[in-house]
């Protein structure tokens, strides 16, 4: 029983307790320091834990003195450990970035509370990832929802409030459905622990066919609302575009992903392949996912505001993930998880860079951001790398997941999906390339722009550079990562 096994719990406790500490401190510098230090230490813990899991394989960790099913337990597999590392790393980078720029977006008096909310948010997301107990996941989801809404409304504008209310109502609907699903499962099995529910369910799912089907659908819709599955995404663009850019980065790169992971956990952990096949319910996810891939990009093309463009592209990228889940093959799911990683790194970088542009120029709309490439060459350069990954230039993660998804869909027997994937990547090119082109080239775009006049100092861009580097690394190391993931899925 090594002490390393308790690290996931320690991570969450550290994050929450430091968060509780913050209101007592008046000086915002100290608060920022605490937030950075806690996130860094947590990341190191996650790294050690990943290494441990990689060596010794997955394990169950009971919270408190009582074994499951009586107590609550964590299930730390390779995927969970990886996600822990990913979440903490991205969050650390985003916090590091926000330290320089947050004053410009938030009132001085609210900064402390902002970092508090971020810590709680990350802690709760990790809880959703780690926990092996459905009701515990539900409680974590609620904390996550509240905290993420909080990170939107810290910036005190009318639109934020409106967007947040929309988000809150939608996700309360979602969590209500999830709780209903849990109730169904409990009344059929009498368990809350995922493994035990599964054990019970495989025995009895033929007795209550409708109820099982309904509970699956309840989970898919409920979590689909929270993770912006296509027809239920309408809260996302407002929320993500109006939030402060560091929060939008967290929201679209981490928050959605945690809920998708929970969906994967529920579909494949609670119900399991044979039940899903028996109800052939995955096609819903598949169809909605491919719809999202196309429609998200199509919406993105018609947006005027750069952050809205990125937000809609998030919808499209979530479509990739749902497509992977919906394929229902081991390869498909592992690619979905790989795409979660790649997209988390890329999209956070894109949001931060867009935030930097808006912050330096004061303009949100694409029309006014023309010629930005001369004023902020480094920023737009990094942005272009991210955009290239979205468009799918080889070696970058976007291309890798596209390729594997296509292969997976061939293997799964629906070759037509390749057309969807390629079409959506083409659409990505259609709306990302104008930003870059008009940024760097064009006479009337560049005239009156002074070279590097508005560029941010390098040290403020360091975190984004790290994110971009890690993105390229994810692309280069893709084989290892995917093998690791499919190892974890076994």
């Amino acid at each position: 029983m090594s002490i390393i096994q308790s690290f996931p719990l320690v991570i969450i406790l550290v994050l929450l307790i430091t968060a509780f500490m913050m209101p007592l401190i008046k000086n915002t510098k100290i608060i920022k320091g605490i937030s950075l230090v806690s996130m860094t230490s947590v990341m190191i813990l996650a790294l050690i834990n990943l290494d441990f899991v990689h060596k010794n394989g997955e394990y169950l960790y009971r919270i408190g003195h009582f074994n499951a099913p009586y107590g609550i337990e964590f299930r730390i597999g390779i995927i969970e450990a990886m996600m822990g590392l990913l979440f903490t790393f991205v969050a650390l980078m985003i916090i590091w970035y926000s330290i320089y720029s947050i004053e410009k977006e938030i009132k001085q008096s609210k900064i402390g509370l902002y970092y508090l909310l971020v810590n709680i948010l990350i802690g709760s997301l990790l809880g959703v990832v780690y926990s092996n107990d459905l009701f515990n996941c539900f409680v974590f989801i609620e904390v996550g929802t509240l905290a993420s809404c909080g990170t939107i409304i810290v910036k005190d504008k009318k639109e934020n409030i409106k967007a947040t209310l929309k988000y809150l109502i939608m996700s309360c609907l979602g969590s209500g459905l999830v709780l209903m699903g849990i109730a169904y499962l409990y009344s059929m099995t009498g368990h809350l622990n995922i493994n035990y529910i599964h054990a019970e369910l495989v025995k009895c799912y033929l007795i209550y066919p409708n109820a099982v089907l309904i509970s699956i659908v309840l989970f898919i819709i409920g979590l689909g609302v929270k993770s912006a599955m296509f027809p239920l995404h309408n809260w996302l663009p407002d929320a993500h575009s109006s939030a402060p850019s560091s929060s939008s980065a967290i929201l679209s790169s981490l928050v959605l992903k945690a809920f998708v992971l929970l969906l994967i956990k529920i579909l494949y952990g609670v119900f399991g392949m044979d039940i899903l096949n028996h109800f052939s319910v995955l096609n819903i996810v598949l169809i909605l996912g491919s719809l999202g891939m196309i429609m998200g990009s199509v919406f993105a093309i018609f947006q005027k505001n750069i952050k809205r463009v990125i937000a809609y592209s998030t919808v499209a990228q979530m479509g990739y993930i749902f497509l992977g889940i919906g394929l229902g093959t081991n390869l498909g799911v592992s690619i979905a998880i790989f795409h979660i990683i790649g997209h988390a790194v890329t999209k956070s970088a894109l949001f931060l860079l867009a935030g930097a542009m808006i912050e330096q120029t004061g303009h949100k709309s694409l029309a006014q951001l023309k010629g930005i490439g001369r004023e902020m060459p480094l920023t737009l350069g990094l942005f272009s790398i991210g955009a290239l990954s979205m468009i799918g230039i080889p070696v970058l993660p976007g291309f890798i997941s596209k390729w594997h998804l296509s292969l997976a869909s061939i293997a799964a027997g629906d070759t037509i999906l390749i057309v969807v994937i390629l079409l959506s990547s083409l659409l990505n090119a259609v709306y990302y390339s104008p930003i870059v082109i008009n940024g760097f080239f064009g006479e009337e775009n560049l005239q009156g722009k002074v070279y590097k006049s508005k560029s941010k100092p390098l040290k403020e861009l360091m975190p984004v550079i790290f994110l971009v580097i890690s993105m390229i690394y994810v692309g280069i190391a893709s084989r290892g990562i995917i093998n690791l993931i499919s190892l974890g899925l076994m």
């Binding site: 029983m1 307790i17 500490m21 960790y61 919270i63 003195h65 609550i72 609210k110 909080g150 009895c204």
Partner: protein, 240 residues
């Protein structure tokens, strides 16, 4: 049109859910799958394991204490967000709010008698949470209402002197941090099977029993009381 559509959606939703319900095991039967070995284990062992006579308290504060910890952080987050949204700087508020004070001797005298009773009742409920119905949440709410009553009757200015914001937030954070530390200790010692000293369970039925249950109940009660008071004051003018 929209109305008809949404009514249609609702009705289909209800019908679908009812389809599921009609299959579920019969209501209130002893041999339902829900009443399985887990609930039996709780009913039998709670008192021995945790020292709580109130099984529900035993479950939420010991078996599934992690839920409760997260849940109190939900409460904390909510209060922080409401603070974020509604807290106004003092000087912005004019004198006009002073009008809201109710200058009534009867109320003041009655409340002088009433408020302590309410608080004693709340404290009783917290302290006997592990023995009888009740617990931190219920008792905390009751104490919170007593604060609210106090504020309504004696007005902002006076209440802010006796219950200043800075002190309250300190108590709130302190309480929840202590909670986190205590539970964290027992979580990790339990999870890693470390034989570090645990508080004794005492004799079931006496107040000083159940190990962490009593202090946790007190902490939870404190958190809830302050949160409730925050909610009220913030919605009423937002000036703390």
């Amino acid at each position: 049109m929209k109305k008809i559509l949404s009514i249609g959606i609702t009705i289909t939703l209800i019908i679908i859910l009812l389809l599921g319900v009609s299959e579920l095991p019969k209501f209130g039967q002893y041999n339902n799958p829900a009443n399985n070995e887990v609930s039996h284990y709780y009913i039998e062992k709670t008192t021995k394991d945790t020292g709580a006579m109130n099984i529900v308290t035993g479950i939420i504060l010991d078996y599934r204490a992690f839920d409760t910890f997260v849940e109190s952080s939900v409460l904390f987050t909510a209060s922080i967000i409401v603070l974020l949204l509604l807290k106004k700087e003092k000087h912005i508020q004019g004198i006009d709010n002073e009008v809201t004070i109710i200058e009534s001797t009867i109320l003041k005298q009655v409340s002088k008698v009433l408020i302590p009773c309410i608080q004693i009742f709340g404290i009783y409920i917290i302290f006997y949470g592990h023995l009888s119905p009740g617990g931190g949440f219920a008792g905390g709410t009751i104490i919170g209402t007593s604060f609210i009553l106090y504020r309504i009757i004696y007005g902002k200015k006076f209440t802010d002197k006796t219950l200043p914001y800075s002190k309250l937030i300190t108590y709130l954070c302190g309480a929840i941090m202590l909670y986190g530390v205590l539970k964290g200790y027992s979580f990790i010692t339990g999870g890693n099977h470390l034989n570090l000293p645990q508080p004794s369970l005492g004799t079931p039925g006496s107040i000083l029993s159940g190990g962490f249950l009593l202090p946790l109940n007190i902490l939870v009660g404190l958190i809830v009381a302050i949160t409730i008071y925050f909610f009220f004051t913030l919605f009423d003018g937002g000036e703390i």
